[in-house]
Amino acid sequence: MSEEVVQCRGVTRVYADDAVPVHALRGVDFAVHKGDWVSLAGPSGSGKSTLLHIIGGLDRPNDGSVSVDGQSLGGLSEAQLSDLRLRKIGFVFQAYNLIPVLTAVENVEFIMQLQGIGASERRERALEILDRLGLDDIGDRRPGELSGGQQQRVAVARAVVTDPVLLLADEPSANLDTATTKELLELLRNINENHGVTIVTATHDPMVMGYAKRPVNLRDGAIESDGASTDAGTTAPSPDA
């Protein structure tokens, strides 16, 4: 069995802000292995985005445990979670991915700047990744001058430039047309297959699910089906499902 990058045990998330508590996740057990591309799918409210956010340390479970690259997220402070995201996780969001006042190459450099990498090295690495992803001609443009597809590809470049152990993408194709979505997915496939980056996506989009190696369906806060549950060692849906 390959190395586990993500491990979730009995993850429960209840939103109690409203009068009626909403059970977004009900004791989910789930693991992602190195080199995997897991697609979390399911209808709205199924818990796929919540699970993705909890794995990424953006949200905290009410119960259960989560670890990323062997590090438990429970008990980490906000600053420690920020550091974990900075060092180990790359993010691609549905929108608002890029910093509007920075050019594409500066956006790619941003995380490296936060990591304290020197100016010449980060510029070299940023230009290299943009070149590798076919974005070398838009490096000096700001997000407002880029198409939606270009913005998402720059976001991918930023997410992978520091070689994270995990790339999380939340509805990455939501604002893209079919052709651009295909381009983006080819890019993710290239990163996953040729560079060994582990990817977890949360999506409604069948095209994204089709590209993933391991589709995982959620319903009502529990895993309904796991495309690779046998060799991934994941558990069956929780009893609450």
């Binding site: 990424g56 953006l58 920020s82």
Partner: protein, 407 residues
């Protein structure tokens, strides 16, 4: 490294809303320039009040006979050796002393052919009076030649009232130490004009020896010492108290408590004025920062999500505030100083003469731009910028990345 990134982000974010931030920057610049310029006027008034109080024959330190202030007459007098000098005192050097003057000042009556008025007759040595307003008087006719000069100079205001002029004779009547009246006729050598019109109606000057002759005495009623700097006052006060034991040795602040109180109040006025101007402006600054933060909540959430620490987000908001405040402060100080330069030699406020003289001020107000006042404005403004940015910055920091991205 990270600070450079935050400064870069802050700087570029300011340029995102050129118009809004331009207006805010203009407001800060204007307010700072106004505060700098107004401070120079207020400080000028303070310096002038203190100078005028010292100039008004008080000096920084003055020696009087006990009881003179309550009953100012020749009976309250004392003797001073001709060769006495303050810089001969232990611990007092010549570079600490600007000058000194002994005088005989007594109440008197001046009579012309037409009018009679009560005045203060002051016997002076004109050579010593460079330490008081007397040495700076603009005189029509002639000034006094020396301490033995038997002529008088009168103020323009008084000359007009008693209808006299240069070359005419007047009669002075005053009381001697024995209680008997002394009177003598004197020729008007000159008519002086003062920046403070009330002085012209009060003081009549003649030679010190002349008044002593009139009163058949060799005493003086006051001895003033002017220093090169106010800070030398305490040691001089102590030495003089030892040397002139039994006499009243007083500072100008004790002699003119109203002027002293007003100069002290001005330090507070400067701060109050600053906080009114900048306080009003800080509402605009807070509003602008809150708007900027609200507009960028999702963006900041995204930055938090990809690994920016909460503290860095807080620092970024504070930096943006500091940058715009810093630019406004720099611009305001430059404009304030540029506006000050053309009026550095003084502003003629003759139209407000009566009101100004009430406050012990001259017709010409000389603004004073002190480095410490500018530094105070700069430091307080930066602190204000920090305080103004605290609320939106903390709000931004406390918001989780996910919550921020969902806004």
């Amino acid at each position: 490294m990270k600070l450079r990134l935050l400064v870069q982000l802050g700087w570029r974010n300011l340029w995102r809303h050129k118009r809004r931030n331009g207006i805010l920057l203009g407001g800060i610049t204007f307010a700072i320039a106004a505060v700098v310029l107004a401070n120079s006027f207020i400080r000028g008034m303070q310096v002038q009040m203190a100078d005028n109080a010292v100039d008004l024959m008080n000096g920084h330190v003055k020696i009087l006979a006990p009881g003179y202030l309550d009953d100012p007459g020749i009976a309250q007098s004392f003797e001073v050796a001709q060769d006495w000098r303050p810089d001969a005192l232990e611990g007092i050097t010549s570079d600490m002393v600007a000058g000194w003057a002994s005088r005989v000042r007594v109440p008197a009556v001046i009579m012309s052919e037409r009018e009679t008025r009560g005045i203060q007759l002051v016997g002076i040595d004109p050579a010593s009076e460079n330490i008081s307003f007397v040495g700076k008087l603009a005189i029509q006719g002639e000034g006094l030649a020396d301490a033995a000069d038997r002529r008088v100079i009168v103020g323009a205001g008084l000359a007009e009232r008693i209808e006299t002029q240069v070359g005419r004779r007047i009669v002075l009547i005053t009381q001697g130490a024995d209680g008997r009246n002394r009177e003598a006729g004197y020729r008007v050598a000159g008519i002086y004009r003062s920046d403070t019109s009330s002085l012209e109606k009060i003081f009549v000057f003649t030679g010190r020896d002349t008044v002593q002759d009139l009163l058949e005495t060799n005493v003086v009623t006051e001895l003033s010492v002017r220093l090169t700097e106010e800070r030398f006052s305490p040691p001089l006060l102590q030495r003089l108290a030892n040397v002139f034991a039994g006499l009243d040795v007083m500072t100008w602040q004790q002699l003119d408590p109203t002027a002293a109180a007003m100069t002290a109040i001005i330090d507070v006025v400067i701060l109050v004025y600053f906080f009114i101007m900048m306080g009003a402006l800080s509402f605009g600054l807070v509003n602008s920062l809150v708007t900027a933060v609200m507009e960028r909540t999702r963006e900041m959430g995204m930055m938090r999500a990809i690994g920016m620490r909460p503290r860095s987000v807080l620092l970024q908001v504070v930096l943006e505030s500091t940058l715009i405040m810093g630019a406004g402060i720099a611009g305001g100080v430059v404009i304030g100083v540029l506006a000050y330069l053309p009026i550095a030699d003084g502003v003629d406020l003759a139209a407000f003469n009566e009101a100004l003289s009430t406050f012990g001020l001259s017709n010409v107000l000389v603004p004073q731009l002190f480095a410490q006042d500018v530094i105070l404005v700069v430091v307080l403004s930066l602190i204000l910028g920090f305080v103004a940015s605290a609320s939106p910055a903390v709000r931004c920091m406390k918001m989780g990345p996910l919550e921020a991205m969902r806004r």
